[in-house]
């Protein structure tokens, strides 16, 4: 998450500035910062650099602090703010840090914690480091921030930092500034030589009093000035790229506590959340309107159907209501069936036609159902087998011709006489 336009406080070279909406104003003391804001500081009396310590990464900051105290660079205890560290060999770690006198550090942190509004505190070298990480590719680049008689330089890639240091001139005369840029170039060259690397690009962050370098000839790298903006300070216009860089900082890179970061995130989320809530309310409202209209339309068509049904029911008796036709229809069908079914006589005559001489019906059973008749005939033929069987087959053929269906038939013989059984059906015509 990066920042949009808002209040940015900058403590630099002993001065405290407030940047707000293109205007820069100078304040007296950091204790005046009581609003939600970004606060970038170079921590007075601090140093930023890369050193190698003989310890695993876990204890690198402790060892760096101890080295600084043993070297006598500070006359008071210090706190180490780690920007980057990487294990180089076993028990050897490279660490890039800003060392701040502990009293000063506590003063800043206590103020940030005690202020009710969230303040995101960034060391100046965090700004440079973030700029490097956002712009570097595989090959190393340099980021230079020149302000007054100081120039902060950091060299590295996305994953590795080779060099970090602040160079200072004696004063801000053009000669001294020229010498300051010489020192910067010298640091770049020596870093290239020591680490056997090639700097491909140098990014220049400008301040209101920055003087771009007058390097001439082929430097071996491109010097790019970052995009600037115009701001006003005490009625005068200046151009600087610093605040543009600050607005691109990552909130997570701040050294403020989690509560300040969370409060900052929460405040930032209020507007989008309100917008989402408003959108949801609008959706619910319009959804309610839409579905109410749909429900009304459905209710109207339901009422229409109900009234139509009622009118149909009212109309039915006028048409004639229930006509008692079932009994009449059943009786007519019964008469019609009686007129069409083959009579007993007709059936017996059919059998007489089918059965030839010598065939005697022993048993005849006929049942009449709704669909037709079902008959069973047991007959005896007192004749030689050949004649009896021919007669039997002829009987079957004649019965079929007369519209009977032979459901089952069997024939048995004892030579002199034969017996056969027929099961017949005939559907009503």
């Amino acid at each position: 998450m990066t920042f949009s336009s808002e209040k940015i406080y900058l403590e630099l070279d002993g001065h405290l500035f407030l940047y707000e909406a293109g205007h820069l104003s100078e304040l007296g003391d950091p204790s005046e910062i009581i609003e939600e804001s970004i606060f970038v500081t170079d921590f007075p009396d601090s140093i930023s650099r890369i050193i190698q310590v003989e310890t695993p990464p876990k204890y690198a900051d402790v060892m760096a602090r101890r080295n600084l105290e043993e070297a006598g660079e500070f006359d008071q205890p210090v706190t180490v703010i780690t920007h980057w560290k990487k294990k180089k060999r076993k028990n050897t770690t490279d660490i890039f840090f800003t060392a701040v006198p502990i009293q000063s550090y506590n003063h800043y942190m206590t103020h940030v914690e005690e202020t009710s509004a969230p303040i995101l505190l960034f060391p100046l070298y965090t700004v440079l480091h973030q700029t490097l990480k956002k712009n570097a590719r595989k090959s190393p680049i340099a980021v230079i921030f020149q302000h007054g008689r100081s120039a902060d330089l950091i060299i590295g890639t996305k994953k590795k930092i080779y060099f970090a240091n602040r160079s200072m001139a004696f004063d801000e005369t053009p000669e001294q500034i020229y010498a300051l840029w010489d020192m910067v170039l010298s640091d770049i060259r020596s870093t290239e030589a020591e680490n056997r690397i090639k700097i491909t690009k140098a990014l220049f962050i400008s301040w209101i009093d920055s003087t771009p370098p007058e390097w001439k000839g082929d430097l071996g790298f491109n010097l790019d000035s970052l995009a600037e903006e115009t701001l006003e300070l005490e009625g005068r216009s200046y151009r600087t790229s610093f605040f543009k860089v600050v607005r691109k900082l990552d909130v997570a890179a701040s050294i403020s506590g989690p509560s300040e970061k969370l409060a900052y995130y929460s405040r930032k989320a209020i507007l989008p959340l309100n917008l989402i809530l408003l959108l949801a309310v609008c959706l619910v409202f319009f959804g309610y309107m839409y579905f109410t209209r749909q429900a009304n339309a459905l209710n109207m068509s339901y009422q229409n159907l109900v009234s139509e049904l009622v009118s149909v029911k009212q109309l039915q008796p006028k048409i004639g209501g229930h006509v008692p036709y079932e009994e009449t229809l059943a009786f007519v069908k019964r008469l019609e069936r009686a007129s069409r079914v083959p009579s007993y006589k007709e059936f017996v005559n059919d059998l007489s036609d089918a059965f030839g001489e010598g065939m005697v019906v022993e048993l005849l059973k006929v049942d009449y159902g709704q669909g037709g008749l079902l008959a069973e005939v047991h007959a005896t033929v007192k004749a030689p087998f050949g004649q009896a069987h021919r007669g039997y087959q002829r009987s079957l053929w004649i019965l079929r011709k007369k519209g009977y269906c032979i459901e089952d038939s069997s024939f048995s013989t004892n030579i002199q006489a034969s017996h056969f059984l027929l099961k017949l059906t005939k559907r009503n015509p």
Binding site: V312, V323, F331, L335, S343, K345
Partner: protein, 113 residues
């Protein structure tokens, strides 16, 4: 709706015509016939000739059983109450010379005058 009206009109017409032609149950008499006895061939012919539909009545056949010998199940079988028994006009002497055993059931449907 219109279809329902058409159907109801046709049904009503049917019922009215059936009434006009007298094709309703309460204007017809129904006589059940159940014969179960040994008979001769002439008697059988006479019976079968009568169990047909004519201009003035219908005969509705139900079941017919004819065998050369009287089955064991029919011996001593009682006639169902309420059933009319059609007895052939043949005399006792002829019965003794019966050729067949007959079981016949059916109904005469006669229109009232």
């Amino acid at each position: 709706m219109a279809r329902q009206q058409r159907i109801l009109a046709r049904v009503r017409t049917f019922v009215e015509k059936a009434k006009a032609f007298g094709l309703v149950k309460d204007r017809w008499d129904r006589y059940g016939v159940e014969i179960q006895e040994s008979i001769t061939f002439p008697e059988l012919r006479q019976i079968l000739e009568q169990t047909v539909s004519k201009e003035t009545y219908y005969f509705e056949p139900s079941s017919l059983y004819i065998s050369k010998a009287k089955p064991e199940s029919a011996k001593g079988e009682a006639v169902e109450p309420g059933k009319k028994k059609q007895v052939p006009s043949a005399g006792t002497a002829e019965k003794q010379k019966a050729d067949l055993f007959l079981k016949l059931r059916g109904y005469f449907l006669v229109r009232r005058q």
